[in-house]
C-alpha cells in the first residue's frame, strides 16, 4: 500500500465525515459506492472537489467519476496519471 493509498483513505475519512472509521478498515479494492463503503451522490461531488483541491485535477466530465471513484485503487491510479501537485 503506497503513501497515496493511505493518504486517500485519510482524506476520505476526514472530508466525508466517516466518523470512527480507521484507515485500516478501508480495503484498497472495496467498492466505495453502493455496497462497500456506501458513499452517496454528495460524497461523489466532494471527491471531485478533493481531486482538484489536493491534486490539482479538474474533472472535465463528472460522469467519469463512476469509474475513477470505484475504489481506492482506481482513485490512486487515476491520480498518479493525472496529478498536477
Amino acid at each position: 500500500m503506497s503513501d497515496l493509498h493511505t493518504e486517500l483513505k485519510q482524506s476520505i475519512i476526514q472530508q466525508l465525515n466517516l466518523e470512527d472509521m480507521e484507515v485500516s478498515e478501508i480495503e484498497n479494492d472495496e467498492h466505495l459506492f453502493g455496497d462497500g463503503l456506501g458513499l452517496d451522490s454528495i460524497d461523489a461531488l466532494e471527491l471531485i472537489v478533493l481531486l482538484e483541491k489536493d491534486y490539482g485535477i479538474k474533472l472535465t466530465d463528472p460522469n467519469q467519476g463512476k469509474e475513477i471513484f470505484n475504489s481506492i485503487n482506481s482513485m490512486a491510479d487515476f491520480i498518479e496519471k493525472n496529478r498536477i501537485r
Binding site: L16, N17, L18, E19, I42, D43, L45, E46, V49, E52, K53
Partner: protein, 201 residues
C-alpha cells in the same frame, strides 16, 4: 368546526440541558463545544446512525431531539412535520460562504436550506408526510396552532411533530412536541408557552 388537539410529549434542548416532558433529563458539561455536546448525546443515547456525522449542527440537533422525543420510534408514517425558526440555516450558510473563496463545498451547500432537517427526519423515520418550514422572529405558538389546525380539519394527518429549532452564534434553542387527537395536555397557546419556557430548573 373545532378540533380538540393535545400535546402528547415534548423535548427541550437548550443551555447544555435536555428537558423531557417538562422534567430535567440530562445535563452536559456547559463548557463543552456544540459539536462535543452533540456527540455526547449521540453516545449517551447509544445511537447508531452513520448519517449523523455528515449532518450540519442544525440537522444534528433535530435528529437527536426527535430520537429523544420519540424514543426512536414514530409508528404513524404520515406524521406531519411543522417546523420553524428565526435564522433559517444561517450558521451553515456562513460556513458554506467560507468555502466559496476557493473550493465551494457541496456537502455544506446541501444544508443551506432550513427544511433539509425535515428531510433528515423523514429519511430516518421513513415519513412520507406533510412538511412545512416557516420563519418567524421569535417562537410563535399561533403559527403552529393555525397550521396544524388546518391539517387536522382537512383530515391530512392524525399526528403532527412540531419543532422550533434555532441555532445562531453557537446558541441553540430546540423545542419539539407531538400533537394528536387525544392526550393529557391541551394544545393551546398557554400550554405551549409553559412548556417552551419552563420555570423550574
Amino acid at each position: 368546526m373545532s378540533e380538540e388537539l393535545f400535546i402528547t410529549k415534548s423535548v427541550i434542548i437548550r443551555d447544555s440541558k435536555i428537558i423531557k416532558n417538562g422534567k430535567p433529563f440530562f445535563k452536559a458539561d456547559p463548557d463543552a463545544s456544540l459539536s462535543e455536546f452533540l456527540k455526547t448525546i449521540y453516545k449517551e443515547e447509544h445511537l447508531k446512525y452513520p448519517k449523523f456525522f455528515k449532518m450540519d449542527s442544525l440537522s444534528k440537533l433535530v435528529y437527536l431531539g426527535v430520537e429523544l422525543l420519540t424514543e426512536g420510534n414514530i409508528p404513524d408514517k404520515k406524521t406531519a412535520l411543522v417546523f420553524a425558526n428565526s435564522v433559517s440555516s444561517l450558521e451553515t450558510d456562513e460556513a458554506y460562504a467560507g468555502t466559496m473563496g476557493e473550493f465551494p463545498s457541496p456537502s455544506l451547500f446541501v444544508y443551506t436550506l432550513p427544511n433539509i432537517m425535515l428531510g433528515e427526519i423523514s429519511i430516518r423515520h421513513q415519513l412520507k408526510s406533510e412538511n412545512i418550514f416557516l420563519i418567524s422572529e421569535e417562537f410563535d405558538p399561533t403559527i403552529y396552532l393555525d397550521y396544524t389546525k388546518a391539517l387536522f380539519q382537512q383530515k391530512k394527518t392524525d399526528n403532527v411533530l412540531c419543532g422550533w429549532v434555532n441555532l445562531h452564534n453557537n446558541e441553540y434553542d430546540v423545542f419539539l412536541w407531538q400533537i394528536a387527537r387525544s392526550g393529557r395536555t391541551d394544545f393551546n397557546e398557554e400550554e405551549l408557552k409553559k412548556l417552551y419556557l419552563p420555570t423550574h430548573e
